[in-house]
Symmetry: C2
């Protein structure tokens, strides 16, 4: 049920979360509201209290009723979750797994889409970054993220801990096909599979065979393969070589943080957790975390959240509005001179540039 | 049975391997011979034919008798193995797993030591690299590298492929203690654990708990923790923050290629596969691969192989000789002007600078 361009309402779930989440989401909503108003569309918002703060107050991570309620929305705009690293009141990783990853898995967000683009003047740490414009299609619902593993004889000298990576033909094929589809709509039409099939043979060969098979359906798309270790080298020596990267959940996690770093930092990196079958709402979030150290101080860059809102509009079919937000962001980013602006000042500037 | 400084002979196993392996090893041996001769030590060499070429000729990867013979040597100097990527005669990954990884696992090379240092003038792709001088202590005998996994219903739409990461208290503790020991001998005395314990909870918590416990034994060493994705960001934005990184086999594989890239490329990156209990010979190898595209053309940089020979001498207790090789390499590297030199010209220059 693809929302058509003529739909008059977007029924949006908003999860601001912890730390800088609420601040950056406020700016994303400013931009989103103006962008859709221009199309005659009403943005209906339902805000959800979830995250580390909420867990401390209630002991809840993601109750079933809340998940059921979220399923009734058209899309989810997500800020960031997570307590301060030193906060020992919260069992490590519990919010990430029982809330963020639970959302990705329950709502079948199998395409974790992370575009990487270096905007003109924005500081890459690379001396000669060249033109950087690629997307990472990270698998979002399986691999080493399934939580399958265990501990035997914990805390003894005989402890054994396992982690099981689960990979299915169903899961790999749909995300690989998505990557080829996206590549086929791009100029360079090139897919790079990143894995480590010389060591992780079972999962690696499933990925390789699937890419070879799906490639047959896309004669206009070329493809190649890189081991994950080699991919990190190219990321800093020749990032222009990438067009569309398709990879598993864990390698995608690692590569997209590196990709964000070389394109000017996670203040600019947007992502979509997308259910391409539209059997549940997709979720859009900045790649950055909750950054508790700068929370509440209007120091966070809302650009990643704003670009995530553009991905959200894209997914719902409001392509024009999405392009306008991106253009406004580019205008703003290219005119940055390194001077500090408040979170809301950046949001206002991008809203004004719309 | 630590080889003492007064030993008059080093009984060295040499595995030149494929591609550029023989070329770079020839230069490493030149340097090694001169360095030990200055200490009055004789270098006895036994060369082993192993690798992709050997497999094509004989079907052998690493026969038991050869492994048994290798065990009788003091140390192993290893070049590189692997066929051309397009060579379909060799089942993918077979040489890596049945030869290289089999050596690491059989000889219990639990410390995979990879130093990263940016030498003066050598080109880092980073605009402001700063001072880079850290070591990665990568676990070498367990984790996702154990080859434990399988495939169900291969080639059907119902295929399931698993990869199991095995982590033991024994395996984690010994490598973590090694990292703290090395940190304690360094100036900054700082250990960074890199993992992903918010997602890989079972293995992650074993690593975290072990670091906390071992840290008690080293009150002079500080430590912190980074998720692997965040670590890649720091690798390109603030590599000076690292002193000693300790991490698992797969994260270490990824991080050390990235570390090599930011310090001027894998032409300079050395490594040791070390059995610290000295129950079997350790093995020293450049981080780079066999680079079949430039093999036999005297185009490969032998510096990584030469620095690996220095790590070998360090391990055998010839610390002075090791320092001299490093100094000769630094002299040579700092005077490079980007002009192309042959593999043997570089080896000759470093030998002369000894
Ligand atoms: C918070 C964490 C669970 C998450 C992940 O590993 O996927 C984050 O790093 C990301 O990339 O969105
Ligand atoms: C060749 C391969 C098996 C190996 C590894 O993954 O360990 C290599 O990448 C390395 O880092 O030494």
């Amino acid at each position: 049920t693809l929302k058509s361009m003529s739909a008059s309402t977007i029924n949006l779930a908003v999860i601001p979360g912890d730390g800088i989440g609420p601040e950056v989401i406020a700016e994303a909503l400013k931009v989103l509201e103006k962008a859709v108003a221009a199309e005659g569309v009403v943005l209906e918002q339902t805000h959800y209290k979830l995250g580390a703060e909420h867990w401390l107050a209630t002991g809840e991570t993601l109750p079933d009723e809340v998940l059921a309620d979220l399923r009734t929305r058209d899309a989810i705009l997500f800020g960031a979750v997570g307590a301060a690293p030193g906060d020992t009141r919260i069992p490590s990783g519990i919010i990430e797994r029982e809330m963020l990853l639970k959302l990705r898995f329950s709502l079948d967000h199998y395409v974790n889409l992370r575009p990487s683009r270096l905007f003109g003047s924005v500081g890459s740490p690379l001396a000669n970054p060249g033109v950087i414009d690629f997307i990472v299609v990270r698998e979002g619902t399986e691999g080493p993220y399934v939580g399958n593993g265990g501990t035997l004889r914990a805390g003894t000298p005989h402890e054994v801990a396992t982690e099981v990576s689960l990979n299915t033909a169903h899961g790999v094929e749909r995300v690989v096909r998505d990557a080829f589809r996206r590549a086929s709509a791009r100029e360079r039409k090139h897919v790079t599979l990143v894995h480590k099939h010389n060591v992780l043979v079972y999962a690696g060969h499933l990925w390789k065979r699937t890419v070879e098979a799906v490639a047959q359906e896309f004669p206009d798309v070329t493809h190649d393969y890189l081991h994950v270790d080699a991919a990190t080298i190219f990321m800093v020596t020749d990032p222009s070589r990438f067009d569309v990267i398709v990879t598993d959940n864990l390698f995608g996690d690692i590569l997209t943080d590196l990709a964000a770093a070389i394109t000017g930092g996670i203040g600019l990196a947007a992502s979509g957790n997308i259910n391409m079958d539209r059997t549940a709402p997709s979720m859009f979030e900045p790649v950055h975390g909750s950054a508790p150290d700068i929370a509440g101080q209007q120091k966070a860059d809302p650009t990643a959240a704003i670009l995530s809102a553009a991905l959200l509009l894209d997914h719902l079919g409001y392509t024009e509005a999405a392009r306008k937000i991106e253009a406004a962001v580019i205008t703003d980013v290219e005119n940055r001179n390194g001077g500090a602006r408040s979170t809301s000042a950046v949001g206002d500037a991008i809203t004004a540039a719309l």
